[in-house]
Symmetry: C2
Subunit: 176 residues, 2 copies
Amino acid sequence: MPSNRQEVENNVKKQEIRDSARQMFLAFGYEKTSLAKIAKHAGVTANTIYWYFKSKEELFASVVEEIIQAFLTAFKTRKSESLRDNILWVISVLEVSRAFIVTIHEKSRTSQVIADVHQSFHDSLAEISEAYLLEKEMKPTEIKPYITLVGFVIEGILMHELDEKEKNDIVSLLEV
Amino acid sequence: MPSNRQEVENNVKKQEIRDSARQMFLAFGYEKTSLAKIAKHAGVTANTIYWYFKSKEELFASVVEEIIQAFLTAFKTRKSESLRDNILWVISVLEVSRAFIVTIHEKSRTSQVIADVHQSFHDSLAEISEAYLLEKEMKPTEIKPYITLVGFVIEGILMHELDEKEKNDIVSLLEV
DNA sequence: CTGTGCTCTTGAATGGCAATCAAGAGACAT
DNA sequence: ATGTCTCTTGATTGCCATTCAAGAGCACAG
């Protein structure tokens, strides 16, 4: 319940900052992106960021959360393709954000916020995939480790520089 | 060819700094370990480190290289166990250094030195494993992607917090 | 139509850090 | 004893995240 018009605009500017942050983080990496740089890109002062976000880490967590939400929404509306196509689709969608994957893991060890976002991503993904693999009649005891394994392979593919053929060959090995 | 006694001692102190660095990096992580902290632990001034290493990143690269060399030496003198045992062995040996894995990948994107160390590690590992898998009569075309895949799974296991059962179940899925 | 309070913005610190600089101290070779 | 090389250090620089203190714009109550 906004007490004045300003608060309505609040979210607009917050989103602008988030957008700038995402672009800068992607282009230069977390460490090499200063808040001053993000602020300049967003057309505000560095201090202003602190009104909307508690810290650089929370800003990053917020950016990541947005990406994850968008991904999960898209992922839920898909499902019924072949396993192989699903995996390749996940890889191609996350491709643009691949620079974040390492940073998320790095920050997860020192930042609770990011660890939470990271964990809940893995959980959501596992939940969706489990239903899918049950339909495909995979042995129930194998489902959980298989999901984890596929997750690791996807992360690996995204974290390393591979060409299309290499990706395809690796994904082929994942078929049961 | 040392021109005086000091230069003989050189490597001793350099090694002391490297040792301190390894311990501090492992305990606190790369970002949260300042050169001052390493220096204090090694009983020198922060500036002294710069005489032995060009930068914090090079110091880190040196630490990583030492670990990798030790690992590769141990790995080469093993080999003839079952595939499963070899994979589990690699995981258990790298376990103590698991905190580094993420940092190596993170730094690889901005630091040439670390990217090189990282790349040569993957290469060495692939080379050793290829010979091993040929002996085991794996189809030659499948060997390369398989090695890469196993590498990604090992990295994944080390990067995430898993209990023994989860690890074993995942490694079981890797058997051909 | 004025004062009070809320949302938002900013300039100016603060403290920490990696990296550089300039000045030396100690050991050796001549 | 002198110059040179190895090594060490205090002081400095410049960047950065974060905090602080002061305000500006707006809305609503009286």
